[in-house]
Subunit: 229 residues, 2 copies
């Protein structure tokens, strides 16, 4: 058979799609674009693109994310390969979905306009093309799982954040309210936050102290058993 086995193959295209999560302080959001080409032109869609022959799917996802956000060094993780034969109306395309976490405050309005992009709260996602709805659903599940054991929630917040903000984030991700006292105790007991001598004063009279995530402290711990919630 030799490498004829390779030559006789063809006909499947490979794409990537990105679920981009943000957090506005209250709700978990996803960044969607109006698709700019046929088929399904003008419909809401995840940002995506084909994988070039000279790049890995990771590279492709980073490129695609950068096209939409202008950002680099974003937290991103491969989610799943979607490959139903008829998932893309225009041809045989499999898509490797990725999800990314960005600080919504860093995202520029200009880019948003250039790409006809918009943030949607997770409970108000519009109809999406192809199987993108399924991708979003799976991304949310994965985020819920992952955030329970890994310190990735901070990627969705500004560098300085308050404990109430952090709690709001977890409540948004898990879609349930949490007890303030238990939450605070548990998070601080992890020993991975540094308290700043500075308060956020916008959302209350008393003000809430800022904290920052200390990656060094985290790395020194045994990563296996870290339970965030």
């Amino acid at each position: 058979m030799d490498i004829d086995k390779y030559k006789s193959q063809e006909g499947v295209l490979v794409a990537v799609d990105c679920i981009i999560f943000g957090f506005d302080g209250q709700q978990l959001q996803a960044l969607l674009i109006k698709r700019g080409f046929e088929p399904e032109k003008g419909k809401w869609s995840l940002m995506g693109g084909f994988v070039n022959p000279d790049e890995s799917t990771d590279d492709a996802a980073i490129r695609v994310l950068n096209q939409l956000t202008g950002m680099n060094n974003i937290y991103m993780e491969q989610l799943y390969c979607f490959s139903n034969v008829n998932r893309d109306a225009a041809g045989r395309v499999i898509s490797i979905a990725y999800f990314a976490l960005i600080n919504i405050g860093d995202y520029s309005d200009q880019l948003q306009q250039d790409h006809e992009a918009r943030w949607f709260p997770m409970d108000q996602i519009p109809n999406l093309i192809f199987d993108h709805q399924e991708m979003v659903a799976k991304a949310k599940e994965r985020l819920q799982q992952k955030v329970a054991n890994h310190p990735i929630g901070f990627e969705l917040l500004p560098e300085k954040f308050t404990l109430p903000q952090l709690q709001n984030l977890y409540e948004a991700i898990y879609e349930q309210s949490l007890d303030k006292r238990n939450f605070t105790r548990k998070i601080l007991a992890l020993g991975i936050l540094n308290k700043l001598n500075e308060k956020e004063k916008e959302s209350s009279r008393k003000g809430a102290f800022y904290f920052v995530f200390d990656k060094n402290k985290y790395n020194k711990l045994q990563h296996e058993g870290l339970k965030f919630l």
Copy 2:
């Protein structure tokens, strides 16, 4: 742009590879084959194959698994997409890896000979082609995670199994020994096993009672919080 966007794409082949796990009563094992074609002909490898234009990657993985084992209705789960540009020496191929759990006792020696296949204990995996070593490592990790919350370990055992056998399985997967009393109590407390009035007498004088997994009982529970270990 239209669907020229599609037509201009090409050059990436799509394959699947299967990590097939078995359990011999003592050790977790993986089924490997001697690769029958170039490149890397004659080296140890995972079972794999190209994805046809008319099938999903799931379908391709099921087909590939069936080729090697003759079995159907096997537990299988998509693992990860491996896509480094130079991962396959003969061309630009991305591979969607799957892992499967089979009852080693159901696997026929005949098929094993036909395909030059062999079971290897997980701590004695030989050098594998391409990035298959990485795939095996990732599959093991995923199995460890998954088995902690989902009743998939039973896929690796005969329909009837004893508690010591089940404990051996978990010890093999986690690579650590467990306390007999705590293990038994915890597993039985889940309420998903039925005790048979029959003993396995090969491995001890006293004999150990057989149990079977009761899928109905499991389905009636709240699946979220089920902690096996």
